[in-house]
Subunit: 378 residues, 2 copies
């Protein structure tokens, strides 16, 4: 496997060579922000690497609590739960919702961790066609008895395809199912999409606040809309985050993840808290990302590629056969430009795809350099 020998950024060193890098998920460049790194180091010096105990057993540290305050503020919620890995967000929600649902319906191309959380529910499992509200409607109709409560799960932004889940349409379909919940893994949406960077639900015009509870009945029409995210991508830190009402977060703290897991590592928590602070103080970082995404997508269209006008910084390029894309990938590498070729991933099909990621800190010239190189190769 190749080894990354610098922070991820527009210029990234891999196996000893610096590339103009368009890979991964460091969309806002915060993983290498000097203040984020300094926060991690200062916290490690002050509090050590970790509290070495669970959050119910004296394990809370100031950096963990700060992430929760900052994340709640950033996401427009009363409170938030921070935990060691974004992979576990769906698991936590499914654990908290045990007994509340009768069947689980999952976008067939959802991330592995979503599928795993769905499997963990132990409920009858029904995949539905990718990003297709009509297929969801049909699946619900075919598989639920009257009064049964569906749990529906999907990525917000799909990590390889770059698609945005039609969350508003899912909500319209689910309005007719009392006790329904829609769980969105917004790993690639939070920090990126929406006016305040709150992610897929904000982008989709869903009313704030989200994550009021596992069951919608008492406060609004169904479905209960539940979102979780990660801090390791746009947010520049590490760990998982679930925003929500005070009451809902208190409920999540009853799951075994709170009493039974070590608190997140101190340097990752401190980095995450500082990155959230920076993002709130400087919304221009997100605006630069949006400009770069627009420029890159427009440029790719000028090359004759089929690329839509989405605000998502992931552009999934399918250019002919696997062989051809591998060749483009390698010829770009020769020119010092890295656009990952993914041979296999959810929804990519047998030929795979070039997965291009745009960053806030790519300069206009860097994007032009990529487009020029691609123009020559196509």
């Amino acid at each position: 496997m190749p080894v990354m020998q610098s922070p991820p950024g527009p210029r990234t060193v891999i196996d000893g060579r610096e590339y103009l890098y368009f890979g991964g998920t460091a969309y806002l460049g915060l993983q290498r922000h000097p203040e984020v790194i300094r926060a991690a180091c200062e916290a490690a010096e002050r509090y050590g690497i970790g509290s070495a105990t669970s959050r119910t057993g004296y394990g809370d540290t100031p950096p963990t609590l700060d992430v929760e305050r900052q994340a709640a503020c950033f996401l427009g919620a009363e409170a938030a739960l921070y935990f060691a890995s974004g992979y576990q967000g769906g698991h936590i929600l499914v654990s908290a919702g045990r007994g509340l649902f009768d069947a689980v319906f999952v976008d067939e191309l959802s991330h592995y961790c979503v599928l795993e959380a769905a499997r963990l529910s132990g409920l009858p499992f029904f995949p539905f066609q990718h990003a297709d509200p009509e297929d969801l409607r049909a699946a619900l109709g075919a598989n639920l008895k009257p009064g049964q409560r569906p749990l529906v799960m999907s990525d917000g932004v799909f990590s390889a395809l770059g698609h945005i889940a039609p969350v508003a349409e899912y909500c319209r379909v689910l309005r007719h199912y009392a006790g329904a919940a829609l769980v969105i893994d917004d790993a690639h949406g939070i920090g990126v999409l929406g006016e305040h960077g709150r992610g897929t639900t904000e982008h989709s015009g869903m009313p704030d606040p989200i994550n009021l509870g596992l069951s919608a009945d008492e406060f609004s029409e169904p479905p209960a809309l539940l979102v979780y995210g990660t801090c390791s991508k746009a947010l520049g830190g590490f760990g998982g985050i679930i925003p929500g009402s005070q009451r809902f977060i208190a409920q999540l703290k009853q799951t075994h993840y709170y009493a039974g897991a070590s608190a997140p590592p101190v340097p990752a928590a401190a980095a995450t808290g500082r990155a959230l602070e920076i993002l709130q103080a400087d919304p221009a970082i997100r605006l630069r990302l949006h400009e770069n995404v627009r420029a890159a997508r427009a440029g790719l269209r000028r090359l004759g590629l089929t690329v839509d006008d989405s605000p998502v910084p992931i552009v999934c390029l399918r250019i002919g056969s696997a062989d051809r894309m591998r060749r483009i990938h390698e010829e770009l590498l020769d020119r010092g430009i890295l656009v990952p070729y993914m041979a296999a991933y959810s929804g990519l099909g047998p030929e795979g795809a070039l997965r291009l990621a745009v960053f806030a800190d790519h300069s206009g010239e860097m994007i032009e350099q990529l487009l020029d190189a691609l123009a020559r190769l196509l």
Copy 2:
């Protein structure tokens, strides 16, 4: 919730007051070791907070690879897999073993993450009585048809009770089941138990190497013995670790955890790698822990408490009613000594327990101070 405002250690600051601390899992004091902290900071400055991509997508960094080399060496294995959270070790093994087993048998007092991994298997689920090989034998006999392959799961060291699982006896019971596997979550054993600190299996006299594969049939008699651990307790860092043969680790890298999850955060990885290095260079740290554990357990027995002569640094004290233990806990606090009272946890029963943790860096005087205070309160 109380907040820890210093690294965990013999003197730990909680809510503004420094306590003589006997809580949590920082058994070897590595979370606050200056070299461990320096390693975390230097790596963050060099590589950023994380590579922001999966390990198959250019996300490997030198600190991650170093953890795997160091952990393999420390645990006497050819290789190791390092991942973001020790909570996921059982999940990874269960995912890799899909289709290889017919039913799962779990020590009824296993940690939440073990029970969750067992549930994730989707197999018929049979709890057996805590640490009881005869009950396991009976459960296997009663629930398996001829030729069926059991997956058996347990903690190695139980986090609140401090019991050691009878691993050798389980292996003897499972010898008669072709295709059987025994999975041990050794979160509290690795770094502590056994001549080289390799954990519960080494302590139990199991032959090295462990973790050769998911199915034992091809290379030895059943069961396949599979161990995973965490780096956030004795090892002073963060994340999960599975040692194993080259072949076995390659097999685990086929699971979705390798391609589908972000690589562990850089500072946690660097801290873990340095802590493993220190432990190997200085076995005296572990010897000091063992001496302290012996001294503390002997002293507690002198006070008339029922405490066995185990090498486990967790001493579960049940002294009368919940009220009485809560009072002892509070009176110790008044004297500046913190021994956590756990009201509810796997196996503690309705009264809960005082969970006393002994560290390598407690001095003899500190242990005497605790014993003196307890003597006055009992």
